[in-house]
Symmetry: C2
Subunit: 199 residues, 2 copies
Amino acid sequence: MNSTDWIPPAVRKAATDRRLRAGETLFRSGDRATGLYGVVSGKVRLVRVDRNGHEAVLQTAIAGETFAEASLFSLTYHCDAVAASRTVVRLYPKRTFIGELKRDPKLTQAFMQRLAEHVMALRTRLERRNIRSARDRIRHFLTLNAGADGRTVSLPGTLRELAADLGLSEEALYRTLARMAADGEIRRSGGTIRIEKNV
Amino acid sequence: MNSTDWIPPAVRKAATDRRLRAGETLFRSGDRATGLYGVVSGKVRLVRVDRNGHEAVLQTAIAGETFAEASLFSLTYHCDAVAASRTVVRLYPKRTFIGELKRDPKLTQAFMQRLAEHVMALRTRLERRNIRSARDRIRHFLTLNAGADGRTVSLPGTLRELAADLGLSEEALYRTLARMAADGEIRRSGGTIRIEKNV
DNA sequence: CGAGTGATTGACTTAGATCAATGACCGTGG
DNA sequence: CCACGGTCATTGATCTAAGTCAATCACTCG
């Protein structure tokens, strides 16, 4: 559901790729919005940085996903996009895209769908941030990200990234995971967490 | 920009009003999504409640605004809608709306715009929640909600509501505001806060 | 092999949650 | 017309979970 199938050939043709090193910035808040991006390979984090240097992760886009959709409605970007690893992104130029939107109702439909999904995802994120307890926050993440069996969660990146994602300090995340494992609530192996007990 | 002008007559005709007492629930998470709502008068809070009973405020819709847009793309609602005061809401039925979307490109355009605004608003909210310090969180809110002069903020509701909105305990909000006022950073009078110093 | 990053654990501090009590205000029903 | 119940605003006292600083180890990538 997050693939870029919905992008029509006309827009595809106008796309250009760009290679990013890990940590490289694709755009910054305030830059002129040139279009919408898709991740070909790698991973991009959309963040806003406050004056204390704290990063708020708004979204993490992995291969096959798109980001900066809302930029079509704005002259500038409103957050920073940073490659989390070596990454290739594909730029779908704003002008072409908007032109095609006017012409292609299917695309419009698909695009609205994407925006609506975005709204829902952001709401879930917001809901999670409202949970004070680190443990409950992690539980929230785990249950909503479990695979088909409802108990296996494969971590999308490093724990460090996850910590930023959850809005916890690394240490709090490590410690809480350790405690949850000690209590038999979860079991860890490599990049995977299994939920052993539902609390 | 948040009025309901963009809703075409065809959809308007199918709308029905409903009167709500303060605190009354309009719909709950999991209820079948019947459509999108507009607030005629009063105020509606969209919240998600976690198992500890904590409420996460996802949106507060005041007179003239719409809410539950994303429900058009979903069979059920994903949050609770509760009237914050005596309120009249107008239901625009899903079926009619979707039918009209297919027919009316203008509506589609306007609706996409609304969704995009939603995404941006949610991102701002998320950004705010990422700020740890109560004082900085309040500052963030104040600067982004100042009127034309950039210094006057008229509070949308009670401080209690604001606290929930900011994700702070009431006490933390009261205390921090008191301290900010004592420091001469803000000045309060009735439902208005003036920013005296920018820090 | 050395530098950089991620993971982990310890020790300490603190901001904000929580519990509690009080006063102001407001609408309402007797 | 006023007493009463309710909500909002406010302040005090206390507690604790999470942030912060710091040190260590494992690993990987030039």
